[in-house]
Amino acid sequence: MKLVLRKRENISRRAAVLVPMISFVVALLFGAILLAVSGANPWVTYAAMFGGAFGSLYGLSEVLVKTTPLLLTALGVTLAFKMRFWNIGAEGQLTMGAVAATGVALYWARDLPGWTLLPLAIVAGCLAGALWAGGPAILKATLNVDETLTTLMLNYVAVLYSEHLYYVAWRAEGYNSGTERIPQVAWLPRLFGRAHAGLLIGLALAVVLWLVFRYTRWGFELKIIGSSPTAARYLGINIGRHIVMTLLISGALSGLAGASEVLGLAHRLQQGISVGYGYTAIIIAWMAQLNPLGVVFVAFVMAALLVGGDQIQMKMRLPASVGLVLQGMLLIPLLAGSIFREYALEVVKPSHGLDPDEGEAAIHG
């Protein structure tokens, strides 16, 4: 008797929903073992994480605060991943967005009327993010340079540049780090607690992107390029142009995330703007299976994990990186389980007269 994987005729919807949920449970179990081995009580820790994230209005507002950049960057990543362009540079694109928004709000638009600052800073943030993703996109479209490495390397460049700005070039007088505070006219309005209007922009864009994927030709073409570049070429789709256009928008979304962190939350460029949201965005996009509405939900859950991690650091003196370990662990069972969307596991008894070699790549049981 052996176990055999057989290709399904249709993608299993049940597996598509079940696998991410099971992955979440597996990640929590793994985290529990790790916590127990390292001498912490997993139950107490998880309860504290949950309580920290949802136990108070303050906690909930902090979850929404972190949902905002996660949602925007994950939408950007989703857009690029849809066509299998591996943009793992959301972190750098976010950082450059924050830099440009700060630049406009503090320096570059001094002579313009005050009310123009907020829209200009947002646009500048989007443009900077677009530029940061556009470079690798052009290199990919023209010379076929590997995009995973170029987008990733630019993360380091962007973060170093922003550090140079808030530690040296733009440092506010009398401080060790951080720029001057941006003028209040350029602030995004707050919703409650520290949660700000950036969240609403993110939610609106998620819906827009969902509609685009579902109803427009452009969305359709992206999916074709992602699933089969050869087919896309036969259909006369200009892949190079799509890569550049899509990546400009993908980068702009992450740039917007950075701009909204400055304009809505920090009100200055300072340490703590690039804390890895752009990497978590990769996990979110894949967990949500590149569905923009799914991204909203997963971004919220991931934000809760991060806030929970911060809480246990403050209250239990456990490392906040527990949240990061759990997030990192999520993708592993998810990837392992994804096969069941396309393949069904069947038990084959050779005595039934079936050719035991049929449908190979078997897992011997």
């Binding site: 793992i88 010379l143 995973t148 630019l154 990061l324 997030q327 990837l335 096969i339 190979e360």
Partner: protein
């Protein structure tokens, strides 16, 4: 004249020291990619093995045990990647990314949790045993070339490992088989080569070597543990594999190039240059992009393909 030689010699010494972890990583990743498996988890594997190596060395005071632990750590993470991509046929890019994301988080957690009570359970800032440079008497005083003989034992091991890795890949039956799996798994399978086994085996081997590279960081190059000890070296390794055209001998040139950039950075910073340090620190990352562009361009112009033909593609026997 003598001063210039001494100066260049010292740059070369640092270059080799900085390049060692890169060479281990690059050779490991070359072996993995040669079987058709792209493992983007190098950064996470390096970080995890660096922290484990330091922790084991700190408590056991046994550097060899620390190396063993680092190899096992890199190998274990690589096995997860092999399981996901070979058995479960997951997307190799996403699987590798997940190993890096998981490894980064885990390394950070371990670094804050494995330390002694007296240091708040953190490993940061502790001093443990390390591999010291061993000067070979006589040899190390030769101008310039002497730089080769002022290294630690992990760097000396490369003098054997690099040619061995090359010879195994190009001059043995096993090497031929593993290259066949990366170029054309269908044909290799038809010839009776066990594709699955070979992919698992060399992904594991790659992970062990990457782990040793990580150990060199925390036990020799920058002894101790700091959150971001790799500084993107795992990613630079991936670029170096392309730069080396998947050839272990050429990995040395790439590592020397990047080790050299590190050495020049150090020298400039020490000399009190007016260039902001942030811009100097960007150099390796910008250089990686430049190297990639040049290599891709050159490959296109000369119609040479360095990458194994089946790189990144899962092997499915039933879907010929």
């Amino acid at each position: 004249m003598v001063e210039i030689l001494v100066f260049l010699g010292s740059i070369l010494t640092i270059t080799l020291r900085a390049g060692t972890s890169l060479i281990y990583g690059t050779i490991g990743e070359i072996y993995t990619e040669r079987t058709g498996i792209l493992n983007l988890g190098v950064e996470g594997m390096m970080l995890c093995s660096a922290v484990v190596a330091f922790a084991v060395a700190y408590y056991s005071e046994n550097l060899w045990l620390a190396l063993l632990a680092a190899g096992l750590t890199g190998g274990t993470l690589a096995l997860i990647h092999a399981f996901l991509t070979v058995t479960m046929r997951a997307n190799q890019v996403v699987s590798g990314l997940s190993i890096t994301l998981f490894g980064t988080g885990l390394a950070s957690f371990l670094g804050e949790r494995l330390g002694p009570e007296s240091n708040n359970r953190s490993l940061v800032g502790l001093i443990g045993p390390r591999f010291h440079p061993l000067e070979l008497p006589g040899m190390s005083s030769i101008p310039l070339v002497g730089a080769l003989f002022r290294q630690d034992i992990l760097t000396y091991a490369l003098f054997v490992l690099v040619p061995l890795a090359w010879a195994y890949l190009y001059r043995t039956r096993n090497g031929l088989n593993l290259r066949a799996v990366g170029e054309d798994p269908q044909t290799a399978d038809a010839m009776g080569i066990n594709v699955i086994r070979i992919r698992y085996l060399y992904t594991l081997l790659g992970g062990v070597l990457v782990g040793l590279g990580g150990a060199h960081l925390s036990l020799a190059y920058a002894p101790g543990w700091a959150e971001n000890i790799t500084g993107g070296r795992g990613w630079i390794v991936i670029a170096l594999v392309i730069f080396a055209m998947w050839n272990p001998l050429r990995a040395v040139f790439g590592a020397i190039l990047f080790g050299g950039i590190n050495a020049v950075q150090f020298r400039l910073q020490a000399s009190g240059t007016t260039i902001p340090s942030a811009y100097l620190n960007m150099l390796p990352y910008l250089a990686t992009i430049v190297v990639l562009v040049i290599m891709t361009w050159w490959e296109a112009l000369s119609h040479r393909v360095g990458a194994p033909a089946a790189l990144g593609r899962p092997y499915m026997r039933e879907e010929k």
